[in-house]
Symmetry: C2
Subunit: 414 residues, 2 copies
């Protein structure tokens, strides 16, 4: 059986090594040989392994889409438009598709699933959420018996690496981001990671599957991480917490969906608090099974390639047995209600510019439910609030930011 690879970057190389160079155990249980025969790359001079006389680099996607011998297309191009176009073309040409693209799956989920069904082919995307963590398959399994009503997770390796390093080195955000970029843990344009788009795409995919209706990236209330400073990590630490960047969604009353991506504080002695560097964790809660958590490498060459090749194996198995998976419904109308269901105590740090800023902030913060603990140190003020609803607190902070833009805040998960 012949496979084509679209994209020969880091993950693509990992997939190529597992399939064509027989790293791992991929080939052990196959009845007929499976091989990558064509790799699409814009650079025609890219080379496959010298021992590999079967696989060729092509620059024209038509050579793949129109090749009747190619059964599975693995799309690892990255980006959005071209990857989407390629996945669509592959499905329309009757190829099974495996992709790791959270961007494309999140944006075109229903359309692509419908297209796959129409063309009687299989679309798989295990690596799109949680990299090497088998979360999509596990979620689908649990949904056979459970109603899933909550998902939360540390879903972005870049920001988790930055937070881990900031904690370890008492370093600032900007410097740590540069470090992450220098060793390939963050992209040159880190927006998708540090502004929460990457997490919200993953969260929207999981929520769509779990809740049976489309939850889109733009339904997710997200807040970036870039306002954090070394002093926030230090203060959180003194209070017994670590800062984590969390995606969280809840289904309430069957059709009300609440979603958020934001920095939060977890007690140092908790599972979530101890997920470090490029590792991810995903928690799902079902009405029968209770809470399940899945932990593993959320990114990286081999772990992600493992998930991609696992999907390819799944398709190979389906073809052998002549069975096709049924797709989960995603046509339930859901109300997307932002983050108003989330509540808790907050940590807030603001750096005052002028004398009168203090009174201004105090006045607004006085509206906060419960007594707040306040520390004033030179021109920096730290609050520890009582219980507040997330949307009210966000509104309040928007008010404060008009005069005092240099601030960071995070809800405390007890």
């Amino acid at each position: 059986m012949n496979i084509a690879l679209l994209g020969f970057g880091t993950i693509g190389t990992g997939v190529y090594e597992l399939i064509n160079l027989n790293k791992g155990r991929f080939a052990d249980n196959l009845e007929e040989p499976v091989v990558i025969t064509k790799i699409l790359d814009k650079d025609p001079n890219k080379k496959v392994d010298p021992s590999d006389h079967i696989c060729q680099i092509v620059t024209d996607p038509e050579l793949i889409m129109k090749d009747p011998d190619i059964t599975i297309v693995i799309a690892l191009l990255g980006g959005m438009d071209f990857e989407y176009k390629m996945i669509k073309a592959a499905l329309e040409n009757g190829k099974h598709v495996v992709t790791a693209s959270k961007a494309v799956i999140s944006e075109y989920f229903e359309e692509l699933v419908t297209l796959a069904q129409k063309n009687n082919v299989i679309l798989r995307y295990e690596a799109a959420v949680g990299g090497g963590i088998p979360i999509i398959a596990s979620l689908k399994e649990e949904l056979k018996i459970n109603r899933i009503n909550e998902i939360k997770g540390i879903l972005n390796g870049t920001t988790n690496f930055i937070l881990s390093k900031m904690t370890e080195n008492a370093a600032d955000f900007g410097d740590t981001l540069k470090l992450a970029q220098s060793i390939g843990f963050a992209e040159a344009d880190p927006t998708a990671d540090i502004e929460g788009y990457d997490v919200s795409r993953k969260l929207s995919i999981l929520s769509t599957l779990a809740y049976g209706g489309v939850v889109r990236d733009e339904d997710v209330k997200k807040r970036g991480l870039a306002d954090i400073r070394a002093i926030d990590i230090e203060m959180a630490g003194d209070m017994g917490y670590n800062v984590k960047y969390l995606g969280h969604s809840k289904l309430i009353d069957k059709d009300k969906v609440y979603t958020t991506v934001e920095p939060v504080l977890f007690p140092k002695e908790s599972m979530m608090s101890n997920v470090n560097s490029e590792f991810n964790i995903i928690s799902i809660a079902g009405d029968i099974i209770g809470e399940l958590q899945f932990y593993g490498k959320g990114a990286g060459k081999d772990a992600t390639a493992n998930a991609v090749v696992g999907d390819a194996l799944y398709i190979i198995n389906c073809m052998k047995e002549g069975t096709y998976p049924s797709y989960l419904p995603m046509d339930k109308p859901l109300q997307k209600l932002g983050n108003s269901v989330f509540e808790g105590r907050y940590y807030l740090r603001a750096n005052l510019k002028k004398e009168e800023d203090l009174e201004f902030i105090m006045k607004i913060m006085d509206q906060v439910n419960g007594r707040s603990h306040i520390i004033i140190s030179d021109k920096t003020i730290f609050f520890n609030t009582g219980e507040v609803h997330a949307d009210s607190f966000d509104d309040m902070v928007t008010e404060i930011k008009k005069k005092v833009p240099d601030l960071f805040y995070a809800r405390i998960y007890e």
Copy 2:
């Protein structure tokens, strides 16, 4: 399709509710009705739900084994001999079997798998390890691409509950065991839990699957938990650790298997340290995927029933599609080499009976590699050793115990 249930205890009731009373989503995706028609229980007066006019309680297993309409037998009797006999009879009578029995699967693994294959039926046992955690299915998936070379886990809810409560209440082992018994978290005879048999059975099942050769309960070097005292939890806490009861196995050089079940110390700020009460966690390490961890309820009615019914659904699906799973090989000859590969620093507490015990212990402990830190408080002595191999340390402690039986020790996982 008709199912028979063997045993109508806690888990059995949970399974009955999911299938016959349609709790959860079990029935949502079935094409034909699936129902439990017979339940084997030694008490003929046990009652099913009043609304259920299909299911009957039987006391004679032959009424199930010889019933041609029964396709799947779910064995939840507990114990060893009768459960084994029933599973065997069901397989021989051409019934698919689901069981949650770690004892029977661990003891008769190869025989029962062979018997299932011979009779062209399916044997499933997801709930036998980790209760509601989908570890068997996940392990099998990862093995398609990975060589798994390490498994570790907190696999026993009873001991984990006891340790959590001891930590929370600064309570002693005996009192906490009684508390656990009074609320149904420990059995009247707690031996299997507190002496490590339950963990070693689960570990032997996972190791057999992962390493491709039979690892038996008796191959696992196990050490009970009953020697622990409140002071050990307190001292560990002061040192920054929590005590956990860990099962751990490693495969080295393709055929050397090392296994251990023992109390260990994890840093408070670690994943393992924060798995509390009846929750379990299982970590597997593959050569491609890296480390994966799975967390969830290791016991309890609904979570375990969820796993059992998931197995039944799997079988129903296989039957619908006319496909049968291939079983993992378990015929590789493996060397079982005890716990000699494990090493680390140790915590040891001993209560001296006589003046001269001190010198006696000191002399033996002086053989320990590295400088050891010692605290002597009245008649209690605490050691913190350098790096030692587990087998050497076990031998040394055996020596000490001859004169000083009241002691507890645990290796430190850094």
